[in-house]
Amino acid sequence: MEINKYLELITTYQINTTIVALLIIALLISSLFLYYTNDIKPSAIIFLSVILVPILTGTFLLILYEFFNVQPSEKHTLILWSSLFINTINLSTLLGRYSKEILKKDFDIDHVTRYHFTATLNLFTTILLISFAVSVFVDMNMILILNLTLLVSSIVIWFNHLVSRLLLKEK
């Protein structure tokens, strides 16, 4: 796979602005986590979760361009930003519950994991339902964008859930 061929299509200005935006989002949510929980580990994982979105989007797009003959387009940046938006909403839900529970004296791990599991499952089912419902009415190009967004955001929100669960079990 010739990654350089695709990297040539992007200017360093585009890469830099995207990196700055990602860092701001990652730092904002991580510092909120750190502020509310006073725990460095989940904050670091949250940082990773935000960074995971462009990595996954880039990987899936490269596979599509290389093996499925899809033409690169500026419209594909919609996948990255839509997945980031969904991931941010999921992380905010986790943050709200996690911080509220972790500071309690009779801290209940199951409460947090159950709540976040339900929230994640609901979010996953919602985006699945919406993507499939919308796919009936739009053309192939939009279906590609919608389903890749679904795939990336699903992986990331389940990653958030599993990692937070592991971290909580350690406590």
Binding site: E8, L9, T11, T12, Y13, Q14, T17, T18, V20, A21, I24, I25, L28, I29, L32, S73, E74, K75, T77, L78, W81, S82, L84, F85, I86, T88, I89, L91, S92, T93, L95, G96, R97, K100, A119, N122, L123, T125, T126, I127, L129, I130, S131, F132, A133, V134, V136, F137, V138, D139, N141, M142, I145, L146, T149
Partner: protein
């Protein structure tokens, strides 16, 4: 009585905005001259492949790759600031046929590099061409001796670069050139570029102006020199006239404040019109897609989450109001819209509103982070992303209004029923 009035007013708002939001409703109203269909951008798109020739001075030979990359970045930044929807800038090797159009410089040692710029946009084609062919450099110059004895018939010589000598004052010495509308000498308002010297350069620049008080100097912009006489006031405000046209002022602002392309000259080697690549989607499809997705989310909420019926109804009412009000605003104000973007905006908006209703304890954090991500889309996004960010911020803003309206509606409907 008060409850009846409130319920009737909110119902009327919902019904009227629903009427406006639905497709083809413009045919149902008696005044056909008044257009209120969605203003689709897809009809105004054009696509062009432009090959640019960059003439680079030989002294930059060792830094050629860096200079070309810098040129790509500045060009991208300018087009993005202009609001161009799709931009692709790649290095290019021209064909023999294309090279026949190449402009030969007197200095044959000039290095030539080529870039292919692929643009798909609804913006003005001539303005786009101007933005990509200007280097953005500005130089303050001094007239050569022979220019001082110029006859009245040969006034054109005043504007030619070759009749001036360079000074050390170029764009790099100024932190920015602020475009502002000021009162011109004739009493009319006009746009001016106010030169702001960089930190540490102000005193030296004022000295430079003071030494030349009463003399003529020239400001080189876009390959033409603007001649001007140095006056004592210039030490406070050094401004160059741009003219009364707002569009011209905006274009100059983009060219002068997005960086200098480090080349001697840029020219268009060839250009080719292409068919724009647009995701064809109809207004009916957008409405159906959003409607079906809302229904499926509501059914899911009812089945899976066992939420209270009233909460689900409130959520549905609120969503319906958000989408009908948004589409009505788009239609009435004739805001140009990319129809395909309404779908991701609708999906993300639905997810946001659903979370606000189903996770009320976390709603404050969800709201803060969603607003931040939408704002970052507008500031740092490229291509269509700032447009999506605007849609999302708009939906978040409207959701406040609809939440108040929904709660009021349900409260007063309950009073009527009891």
């Amino acid at each position: 009585m008060k409850s009846y009035i409130i319920v009737i007013l909110i119902s009327a708002l919902l019904i009227s905005t629903l009427f406006f939001a639905l497709p083809k409703t413009e045919f149902l109203v008696p005044f056909h001259e008044q257009r209120f269909d969605l203003n689709k951008k897809s009809e105004n798109y054009w696509k062009e492949e432009i090959v640019l020739e960059l003439n680079i001075e030989p002294k930059h030979k060792t830094l050629l790759e860096g200079k070309v990359n810098q040129a790509k970045n500045v060009l991208y930044k300018r087009l993005q600031k202009m609001g161009v929807e799709e931009i692709q800038i790649v290095n290019y090797k021209p064909t023999e046929e294309e090279l026949e159009n190449s402009i030969d410089f007197e200095d044959e040692t000039m290095l030539k590099e080529y870039l292919k710029v692929i643009i798909q946009t609804t913006k003005d084609q001539t303005l786009v061409s101007r933005v990509i062919t200007s280097t953005g450099n500005v130089k303050i110059m001094e007239p050569k001796e022979e220019l001082k004895e110029i006859s009245d018939e040969d006034q054109l010589q005043l504007y030619m670069e070759e009749n001036y000598e360079e000074t050390k004052w170029d764009r790099s010495k100024f932190r920015n050139i602020l475009i502002n509308d000021l009162m011109a000498g004739d009493g009319e308002r006009s746009y001016f570029g106010v030169f702001k010297p960089g930190f540490g350069n102000r005193r030296e620049f004022n000295e430079f102006l003071r030494e030349r008080e009463g003399e003529n100097i020239g400001v080189l912009m876009d390959s033409f020199v603007i001649p001007m006489q140095v006056t004592p006031e210039m030490t406070n405000l050094f401004a160059v006239g741009i003219g009364p046209d707002k569009n011209e002022a905006e274009i100059q602002n983009i060219i002068l404040n997005t960086g200098v392309i480090p080349v001697k000259n840029i020219s268009i080697l060839s250009s080719q019109q292409k068919n724009p690549n647009i995701y064809e989607i109809e207004h009916v499809q957008v409405i159906l897609a959003i409607f079906v997705s809302i229904i499926s989310v509501l059914l899911f909420l009812y089945q899976r989450e066992k939420e209270e019926k009233e909460k689900i109804l409130q959520f549905a009412f609120s969503l319906l109001l958000i989408f009908t009000i948004s589409l009505t605003i788009l239609k009435i104000w004739q805001i140009p819209v990319d129809l395909f973007l309404l779908i991701p905006a609708g999906i993300l908006g639905t997810i946001f509103v659903k979370k606000m209703y189903t996770c009320p304890t976390e709603s404050r954090i969800i709201l803060i982070t969603s607003v931040v991500v939408s704002a970052l889309m507008i500031i740092f996004g490229t291509g269509y992303i700032p447009i999506l960010g605007n849609f999302l911020l708009f939906i978040i803003l409207i959701s406040f209004l609809t939440e108040i309206l929904t709660k009021t509606y349900f409260k007063h409907a309950k009073i009527i029923n009891s």
